[in-house]
Symmetry: C2
Subunit: 415 residues, 2 copies
C-alpha cells in the first residue's frame, strides 16, 4: 500500500515553518510496510485544498491530511473533503457533547467556532482527540482511505498511535519495513561508499543509503520483509556485515549518540572526565550533560575563554601562554593536564582553537584547533584544521574531542 501526506496551513508556506509531522508519520507508515510517495503542502484555502484532495484520490490508496482542523482555521479541511468527495457534512451529536463537556470542565464558555468541529462528512467516522477539541476523521471512499488529523503534534501523535496504527496494521498486507542505522566517524563519504559497495550491491533488499549529515556519515539499511521479524533480520544481517567492514569507525549501531557511547565506556571502565574548553565555550560540556545520568561520569570543567582564566581556573602557566600563544599544542596539553589534576578526574580534555570569523593569522588560521587528552597513560595532542563557519568549527572541535575520547577509551589500534 502506498500513501501520500498532505499538510495544511498557511504558516507552512512561509520561510519560517516546516511540516515536521510528515517525518513522524513516514516513520510509522514505513514500519507498517507502507511507502510515502507524495507530500503536498497547501495553505488553508478551500479551492486549492479541494484540488489537492482530488489529485490524491486519483493516485493514492491512503491519504493522510494534517492540520486545518482547528476552530480558527475556518474549518477548511472538513468542508474541503466533503466537497472533494461530494458528501454532505452532518453534525455528530456525540462530538458536540464532548466539546461542550471539555469547555465546561475548563469552566470556559464554548466559542461559536468550536461547534463546527462537530461536523463530519457523511459516512466518515470521527477519531477522539485526547489533547484538544478537534476530532480526527477516518473516511473510506472508492477504495481510498482518508485520515484527517489535527496539526499540533501533541494532538496528532497520540491520535494516530492509538486509533490509526492498529487499523492500518490490520489492513496492510503484513509486509513490514525495518531500518538499521550505522553512524560513522573518521571516514569521508566516498571512502565509506568504497568499502561498502561490494556488500550492498549484492542486495536489492535491504536498500542501502549513505547520508552525509551535520553529525557525520550515516548508513541506512532499509529492509522489507513478509513480517517485522523477517525485515529486522534482513536489515541486521547486512548492517552487521557492514559494521565488520567499517571496523572501529562505526561508533553507533543502535541509534546511540557519540556522547552516549563515550559515557557508556567511562561508566564501564569506572572512569571520570573533566573538560577545559576555550573556543568551544562549553559546547563539549553541554553535549556530555545531554546524557541522562551524566553526573556518574562527567565531573565538570572550565570554560576559559580568556587567557587569565586559563591560568586561574585550569592552572596553565603564564609562561606557557606567553611562549606559545593561547592556540598551541602546549596550551592544549596544559589545559587537559591542569583540569584533570584540579578536578581529580581520570581523564582530562583540553580544547583551544580559532573559530573565527576574524582573528586568524597566516601561521594560525581560522579553523586551527588543538585537542589534548590526558589520562594515566600520558597525554595525546592532535592538531586539526576544520572547515566552515564559526559554529561549524566549534561543533567539529567538540565532536572530534568526543571521538578522540571514544577511541582512547575503547582501546585497540590507533587509526
Amino acid at each position: 500500500m502506498d500513501a501520500e501526506i498532505i499538510a495544511v496551513g498557511a504558516e507552512l508556506l512561509t520561510p519560517y515553518r516546516q511540516d515536521t509531522n510528515s517525518l513522524y508519520l513516514t516513520d510509522k507508515l514505513n514500519e507498517l510496510g507502507i511507502e510515502v510517495r507524495f507530500k503536498t503542502i497547501v495553505g488553508d484555502d478551500r479551492g486549492r485544498l479541494v484540488a489537492v484532495l482530488r489529485s490524491a484520490l486519483s493516485r493514492s490508496p491512503l491519504v493522510i491530511v494534517t492540520g486545518g482542523l482547528g476552530p480558527t482555521e475556518d474549518d477548511v479541511n472538513r468542508a474541503a473533503i466533503a466537497e472533494a468527495l461530494g458528501r454532505q457534512l452532518t453534525e455528530a451529536p456525540e462530538i458536540m457533547d464532548r466539546i461542550r463537556h471539555r469547555f465546561a470542565r475548563l469552566e470556559r464558555p464554548m466559542p461559536e467556532n468550536n461547534a463546527r468541529q462537530a461536523f463530519v462528512p457523511e459516512g466518515g467516522e470521527w477519531l477522539e482527540n485526547q489533547n484538544g477539541t478537534a476530532p480526527g476523521i477516518w473516511l473510506e471512499h472508492d477504495h481510498v482511505i482518508f485520515i484527517l488529523l489535527p496539526g499540533p503534534p501533541r494532538e496528532m501523535i497520540p491520535m494516530f498511535e492509538s486509533q490509526c496504527i492498529p487499523r492500518l496494521a490490520k489492513l496492510s498486507s503484513g509486509e513490514r519495513i525495518r531500518t538499521r542505522v550505522l553512524k560513522i566517524a573518521g571516514l569521508p563519504e566516498s571512502e565509506v561508499d568504497q568499502r561498502l559497495a561490494p556488500l550492498y550491491k549484492r542486495y536489492q533488499n535491504p536498500a542501502t543509503t549513505i547520508l552525509a549529515t551535520a553529525a557525520g556519515i550515516e548508513v541506512h539499511f532499509r529492509a522489507r520483509g513478509r513480517n517485522a521479524e523477517e525485515a529486522e533480520a534482513l536489515a541486521s544481517d547486512l548492517a552487521d556485515q557492514a559494521e565488520t567492514a567499517l571496523g572501529e569507525h562505526v561508533y553507533s549501531s543502535r541509534g546511540e549518540s557519540l556522547e552516549e557511547v563515550v559515557g557508556m565506556y567511562l561508566v564501564m571502565k569506572q572512569k571520570t572526565l573533566a573538560t577545559a574548553e576555550s573556543c568551544t565555550g562549553g559546547m563539549l560540556g553541554e553535549r556530555l550533560t545531554r546524557v541522562p545520568g551524566s553526573s556518574s561520569f562527567y565531573l565538570g570543567g572550565v570554560v576559559c575563554y580568556n587567557n587569565e582564566l586559563k591560568t586561574r581556573l585550569a592552572g596553565v602557566s603564564p609562561a606557557t601562554l606567553e611562549a606559545n600563544g593561547a592556540v598551541s599544542k602546549p596550551v592544549a596539553q596544559a589545559l587537559a593536564e591542569g583540569i584533570r589534576r584540579r578536578a581529580g578526574a581520570s581523564v582530562g580534555v583540553g580544547i583551544t582553537g580559532i573559530a573565527g570569523p576574524s582573528s586568524g593569522t597566516e601561521q594560525k588560521p581560522v579553523g586551527l584547533v588543538f585537542i589534548a587528552l590526558a589520562d594515566e597513560r600520558g597525554t595525546e595532542i592532535r592538531e586539526f584544521h576544520f572547515p566552515g563557519d564559526r559554529q561549524r568549527i566549534r561543533w567539529l572541535a567538540a565532536h572530534s574531542a568526543l571521538e578522540m575520547l571514544r577511541r582512547r577509551l575503547r582501546g585497540g589500534p590507533k587509526i
Copy 2:
C-alpha cells in the same frame, strides 16, 4: 504572481531528510512579491513526476523544481519535464564542452552519466552551475515559467541568486513583500495576542502572525507594497507600534539573538561576564560564545556538575552545600558570587537545577532551577519551574539566565 515549488528526491520521502531548499526559495520569492501556494515532494520516479508537473502547469504561473538533476539520479527531471510539456530533449554542445572542461581541470575521466546533463528540453535555456556539473534550466511554456535547479544548496543558491532573481524581478509586477520580526521574552502567546490584537486588527496589510517557536514568541509583520520601500515602511510602521505596546518584552527587532543583545549591552557598558553552570553543563557558555567577538565581554566560567567541583572551582562552601543541597537558592547565589570573584568579572551568573529525567523529589521536582546574577549592586536570585524534557529544561534555564542578564543590564523597571 503565484509560485509553486516541487522538490524531487527519494530521500525527501524518508523520515530522515527534509526539503529545506524551499525555505530559502520562499524567502527570496516573497521579497519579490511572489507568494508560494503549493509545495510538493516527490521521489525520482518519472511517471509520478510527470503527473506532478502537469498539475503544476494547470494551476501555477511559476514552477520551481529542485533536485533530480544529478548524474546518478537517472536524469529524471529533464526527461520528465520534456515529457510533461511534450518537448524533445536536445543536446546543448556548449554545456557538454563545459562539463568536459570541468573534468579535465580536475584531471578525472568524465563518467558516461554526466553526458546526460548536457540535454535540455527544446526551447529551454540552460543556467550555468558554478559549483557543480548539473546546469539548471529555464523554460517558458503556455505562459508558465519552469525553473529547474540542482538539489545541493551550494549549487542551487548561487544559481538562483545570480541567474533567476534578476529575471524574476523584471517579470514581477514591481510589488514587493517585506517582513519585520519582533522577538519577545517573558510573555505567553495569549498575552502577546491580547496586547497586539487592537493594533493588528486595524490592518489587512501588513498581515500579522504570532509564532510560538522553541526560542520563544515571535511576531511577524508581513507587508506588501508597490515597491520595496513602501513594503518596508508599512511593515516597520506596524512593528514599531507593536514594539511600543510590548515594551521591554521585545528583546530583538532586527533579527538579533538574545545572546547578541546581552553581548551588546555588556560591551556598551564595558562590563565582563563569567558563568558557573551546573544543570546546563556549559550551554550558557556555548550560547554566549556563538557571538563573534564574545571574548570582549565573556571571560569564561566553570561547569560544576559535581558537588566537589562547585567547591573547588567556584568556591561554594561545603557547609552551604550540606545545609541546602546543591539545588537551592544559597548555592545559586554562591555560584554567581564565587565565579564573579574568581574570574574577576563585573557580572557573575550561577545556575543550579534538576533537569531530570530522574532524581527529582517531592520537595525538589524535575524542572526546578535557581538562577542567580551577581554584580556590584548585589545578587538577584530567581526560582523557576520549567516544563518539558531534560533538554528543554536545560534550554529554558540558559535562555532565562540570558533574559535576566538582559533586563539587569538594560536597567529600567523590573517586570
